[in-house]
Symmetry: C2
Subunit: 219 residues, 2 copies
């Protein structure tokens, strides 16, 4: 009987988890509805042209209800941005998890990132555009969401060093950041040259080969 395998302490723990009452659950749903509407509008119009008024309209609620959940448009954008970066990180990590050469792991990870983000390319474009022209405090916060992604790249490179595939003197921060910048830059081909995953996959791989080949340990 599988059910009985759940031990008494586990049950107690599960019951100790905070449970949402009806009101809290409604609040969570409202917040999510606002986020969905915001994501759609940022993708359609970009940050500046998306108004709280239209986001509220898209969510089917009053601007007051939006402001009950988010202080302003910047906070709303940040929430969308943070969700997106978390998803991207998860997908890259999963695809890069398999054992193998660092080139393959990076290439698989970043390709998975393209896979995910091509689904909502205009949102990605709006995010990159905003990252180039935003107040310094907003940049500080959005950078905190991007950091784990650059670190994930650095960790893959670090594994390559540890396993003797890459040189011991690799400049990890320089290399990780370079790879991240190249990964992001390629979205322009998707946005304006109609590149799909078929074009992006071999392209990022060629770029990685070029970037990494001087960093390989002499065999």
């Amino acid at each position: 009987m599988r059910e009985s395998s759940q031990s008494a302490p586990a049950v107690a723990e599960a019951e100790a988890q905070p449970r949402l009452n009806r009101r809290q659950a409604a609040k969570v749903r409202t917040r999510q509805k606002v986020l969905d509407a915001a994501r759609t509008l940022f993708a359609e119009r970009g940050y500046d042209a998306a108004t709280i008024r239209d986001i509220a309209k898209g969510a089917g609620m009053s601007t007051g209800a939006v402001f009950a959940n988010f202080q302003d448009k910047a906070e709303l954008f940040e929430a969308v941005f943070s969700e997106e970066m978390e998803g991207l990180l998860a997908d890259i990590r999963t695809a890069a998890a398999a054992e193998g050469r660092v080139l393959d792991r990076l290439s698989n990870g970043l390709t998975a990132g393209y896979h995910r983000s091509l689904d909502h390319l205009p949102l990605m474009q709006a995010m990159v555009a905003r990252s180039w022209f935003q107040p310094e405090d907003a940049d500080l916060r959005s950078r905190a969401f991007v950091r784990p992604l650059v670190e994930a790249v650095a960790e893959l490179l670090q594994a390559g060093v540890r396993e003797g595939e890459l040189r011991q003197d690799v400049d990890l921060p320089l290399l990780a950041r370079l790879i991240w910048d190249v990964f992001i830059s390629n979205f322009r081909f998707a946005a304006y040259d109609n590149w799909g995953i078929e074009e992006l996959t071999p392209h990022i791989r060629k770029q990685l080969e070029l970037i990494l080949s001087s960093q390989l340990a002499r065999q």
Copy 2:
């Protein structure tokens, strides 16, 4: 007598040049005033938040006078963008003109680009931001202004191949575009980490070394 060295045909040629009458000269000045005001406002607010109304105000003229020179904000932005790219190209070309290794020439050229653009960094940021979120037709046109810059990088690489410094099988378009993307990405450090020319100069050089070292011909 130096004056007499000007031969009759040269004088005739000079006189055949179109000369601006007073009205035409005023039109040129007006256009330049609008462009200057637009440049200032795009740098301050970014593309979306800059209005024709405020650009006109900045230039000290009516919106009608602005529209007599430019069809809309997009055309105005393009004129500013095109001017900027032309200046950047000239500075990169000049600094990269000296004989030398391709690494030095590229490094000198791109550093000169930073020198120039750091003077009006917010404008540069506004331009990159816009390049990520603009209608396809605007992208097509703005890309025409950027192409000569990527080609200038490709020409420098090509010279390196010709002179036996770089491998014969270098993927020129891939490499030139990669270098350009990295050059642009670095402006974020200037924008948000207060990097000046002292930080950017060694950084782009390290990146170029990393990117080019696998592309060197075996000596």
